[in-house]
Symmetry: C2
Subunit: 345 residues, 2 copies
Amino acid sequence: MSRKIVILTEGYTDPHRAKTAISLIRYCREEILAVLDKHSQGRSCQDMLGVGGDLPIVASIEDVPGADTLLLGIAPPGGRLPVEWRSIILEAIARRMDVVSGMHEFLCDDEEFVRVAENSGARLVDVRRNDEHEVATGQGLREECLRIHTVGNTSSCGKMVAAVEITNGLKDQGVDAKFVATGQSGIMVEGDGCPIDCVVADFIAGAAERLVRANQNHEVIVVEGQGSLIHPRYSGVTLGLLHGLRPDGLILCYHMGRETVFGMDDHKLPSLERVLEFNEMAANFMHPCKMIGISVNGRNFSDEEVADECEKVAARLGLPACDVIRQGPDKLVAAVLDLKRRLGK
Amino acid sequence: MSRKIVILTEGYTDPHRAKTAISLIRYCREEILAVLDKHSQGRSCQDMLGVGGDLPIVASIEDVPGADTLLLGIAPPGGRLPVEWRSIILEAIARRMDVVSGMHEFLCDDEEFVRVAENSGARLVDVRRNDEHEVATGQGLREECLRIHTVGNTSSCGKMVAAVEITNGLKDQGVDAKFVATGQSGIMVEGDGCPIDCVVADFIAGAAERLVRANQNHEVIVVEGQGSLIHPRYSGVTLGLLHGLRPDGLILCYHMGRETVFGMDDHKLPSLERVLEFNEMAANFMHPCKMIGISVNGRNFSDEEVADECEKVAARLGLPACDVIRQGPDKLVAAVLDLKRRLGK
């Protein structure tokens, strides 16, 4: 049954904070009725978020009487609920709308939300909530399934989008491919997956491994990455995920022009060469693995600048490079199929 | 107020499983009245666990009427409570003994334990329970405090023992040093610390950083490592901890003669050279850091064999090496003091 969603972004429309909203609008457009953001009422969604065309931006839930779901469209560091959103969420719950959240702070742990939901019959859906409690075993992986994993030099650089676009490109070529979600936005888009950054630390690799086993009936799985092996905040999530997945091939994602860790300006990013070397070294402790392509996120640059960047980075690293949104994922799809052939999978 | 502890190991006396028991007996001997293990009744504790001398091994809690605390002495992968221990734990709770557990499966989440404890007045202490929810910031570190961190090539190789012994060696030389615990055994020994492997994945580095800030009033902190950067199960914990701590110096710990990951015999360990390189590379993405010494765990080998191993590995890696239990930590203490001098801390 299709949902009728209002996405809440109120006050958090910069593209890094609102990345959950942007992903949902990009990949689940037909389910979205409106974006709720009273500060931006009257602007176009395309102008505000860079996606969504003429999707309405409204000032109040009352403006979208047909909606049955309020989806919290942000992914802030730490995953706390903005306090100023409480009244909006309470209003939605009282109207019997389901509320879908990807925060670390769970709706289900909030006594007031739970009480109002019990009265109205609304459902509270915490996408990050999980009960992973198995350590990794390294057993039971189907080696005929090709495992591809998108990694990055920092957070919020396009790892999910690259994974979705490569998967869709593979499907277009008749390959039985599956996008495997590991974060709140990806899970909301795909409808399944594992919120790996909210698993108890000892079980990160175990949860990743379970995710592989649950999806390896496909020919190819493309698993979205989280954070970065060199991210001061999230590197533990990234390494546990990498080691649990045991990928055959990696796609390196980066945000053109960014030189520091997002939100941590005193942390300069190392060269892509060093990031590539460190990722390959880390992956190969578990399973033979190569970097096979580069996904360039060219947001804020012109088509010409992006094309130029892709050409240069491809020459520098000796790997195919493209911006999957501007140019389509064909080069990376070809790299995946080439690896598949070489490994006889 | 000193506790009067009975340590439960029943059925789990191999030294890797019973490492919590061994650590407590080694470092909190004066608080321990007995070990509860009916299968080993009559054996000497020294013979059973390699520590503890003539500490009594008893078959039942009734045999230790003066005890006020039951401490679960094991650290199994996954941290589940052995089902056959339920009746023993229930008996202890009913006798109003506090129960101290380092399991992932919390005593406080067990309705029966909670009910019986409410009736008797016993306390249930889950050492791994935590509410860490801050991401790392990289801010607020006192650079005058020297940060030392013990790392390993696998789990259960002596990282905690090395950290405690080096700390004690520094204190013996008049240095204001503090052992910083990051695992259940260390926390039970030291009385404070952070159960880093039970933190929600996104907050591993943040929790490690908070731990540094809480202890950096000391001249030197020696933080125990968890797992290994190359451990198929726990590498995420290890990297998040390393990046949150931003150590100045590392001590590489390994178990003499071990060639595979403990409990995962199909996973061969790489050379110490590769482990060293990978650890230094990972650490230096956050903060300048060098490996400064090797801690050899020579359990099961003769004094001569251990001395020979230390000499060989020191020559191979160009670093001081010793077995802190057999030979004392002097060489590693000297390496720490040398680093302190060189960095002017």
